[in-house]
Homo-oligomer: 314 residues x 2
């Protein structure tokens, strides 16, 4: 029996002294040059590009992975290369696991009933077929979109729990457009959760995350298996988030390229270091563009810099 | 140059006298028996199951397709079979197009900036790589999740427009959990769009759909290229939806298995028949379970029954 995601996470955070999640957002037009050279010399454009993407992700994992606790592949970046891209995604996930890293599939999925369950099968579970069970991607956790409500999240969370996996629900994202929907203020009748009150859509989403996480299977870490994606570009929200979701692990993107600063995040770490995961993608993969060093060298240095900065806060 | 999605849709709705969208939600454990027999006799479980899924979808398209205007593959159902499943999805889309049907990829995707653009590349566009352009799935339209706001939808819509494709944004879904977030009532300051007012989250989402659709490239149909997913289980909302989004095509799931009734939908059709697409999945694919007829026969009859019922309302 696999240990619950939050226990595996907590142990690995301590073992590696890191809370850094390495985002993998490969753009086939902006891969590290050495990866492009490793692409197969024949095959379709999709096959060759997928080979280059796979080599790029492996090189990034080799360089920055030792300073990180998990990778976070963004699924669209692979899907756009079709079945070959999906195969590269599966290979990248397997490679990250071989290197001792956890995998958080950045899928932002959301759907209802059997479709929601099918996403959990695809990402962390498996699917019964007349020809035997078919394994999914084998991620340790994935991101989910809560717009469709609790009954749409439940099958996703049930599927994740059955696999000992975790779910990170979008609560307040790091883009300016978060103001359009997530930040809307609720009216009186909908603005009371019986406790501190839920004043905005994102606070309501946070209450849903806390509610769904309250039935987490027992674990050593004390963390909930339903986490939250909390944009690090809105640091003033992090303390309120923690108040509403006392046991949820936070996935904090928005560092570096999106403008967030790692030292705004301290409140996230209150329940323990594993409760505040700092995600960075372009700031690591593209570090060489500002430093002038070789890509792998620059990525390694930037991941280590982030690791140390986050660790010193917690 | 491809004609805009809404013009292709409008022409096909008239030519086929149909507003029915055939949902393709293949569950490998519940495929039509004849499709399971058509699976390859060797290969991995994933390869064999993907072959059976592909045969099932082709048989469903052969049976019910002539009464329909489009198919709507639900992506998770294919993703759970990995790269083989993604290849079956691509083949199913190609087959539907060969049969003269439009394809609406039911992806419910949402992400920010370059990740949002990557979803459009994967579903309706193409991706530049050092090895040449890689085509995406070639769908005619896809569904998107608006939780992340306008700046997250913009790259998706831009990518769709560049491909002459459409986007259907989730506005109010057909599950009971829609009450948890979509139906929340907004406070005064956020409850005014300068016009009729936006009282709930879903009304705000509708206003966003109308705003984004107002910049649709010119087309013959007069419809917006930004449509809305409107759950048919809440028929009392359809008239208000139409008021808020006068030119948006509506994709109306929730017929049959989810409890909606086709004759509640008449207000959707005000801007024209193509503005109200009626989606049905299990009620067609599983019609044989209640009628006792052969699966293809029952699917054909149920699709034709739905076609006629919707057409008679518009």
């Amino acid at each position: 029996m696999t240990a619950p995601f939050v226990d595996r996470l907590t142990a690995l955070v301590e073992a590696r002294a890191s809370q850094i999640v390495l985002g993998l957002d490969p753009d086939p037009a902006q891969l590290w040059p050495a990866a492009v050279e490793q692409a197969p010399s024949d095959g379709s454009a999709a096959q060759r590009a997928a080979g280059a993407v796979r080599a790029h992700c492996a090189a990034l994992i080799d360089a920055a992975g030792p300073a990180c606790v998990a990778v976070k592949p963004q699924l669209a970046c692979f899907e756009r290369l079709g079945a070959d891209g999906w195969a590269a995604l599966a290979a990248t996930i397997a490679y990250a696991r071989e290197r001792g890293l956890l995998v958080i599939a950045d899928a932002k999925r959301g759907d209802i009933s059997v479709s929601a369950a099918a996403y959990a099968q695809a990402l962390v579970g498996s699917t019964p077929t007349p020809f035997g069970e078919v394994a999914g991607l084998g991620a340790d956790a994935f991101t989910a979109n809560p717009l469709l409500g609790i009954d749409a999240l439940e099958p996703i969370i049930a599927g994740a729990r059955a696999a000992g996996a975790g779910v990170f629900v979008l609560v307040r994202t790091s883009n300016p457009g978060a103001a359009d929907v997530e930040d809307l203020v609720l009216a009186g009748d909908d603005n009371d959760d019986g406790g501190g009150g839920a004043a905005t859509v994102w606070e309501r989403l946070a209450a849903i995350v806390a509610q769904l996480g309250s039935s987490s299977p027992s674990n050593v870490s004390g963390l909930s298996d339903v986490g939250a994606v909390v944009g690090a570009t809105a640091p003033e929200h992090v303390a309120r988030m923690r108040e509403l979701m006392p046991n949820a692990p936070f996935l904090l993107p928005g560092i570096g390229a999106q403008g967030g600063r790692v030292d705004d995040l301290a409140p996230a770490f209150a329940p323990g270091r594993a409760a505040g995961l700092v995600s960075a993608s372009r700031s690591i993969a593209c570090a060489h563009e500002s430093t002038g060093a070789a890509p792998a060298e620059a990525a390694r240095a930037e991941a280590e810099r982030l690791r140390e900065a986050a660790w010193s806060l917690a």
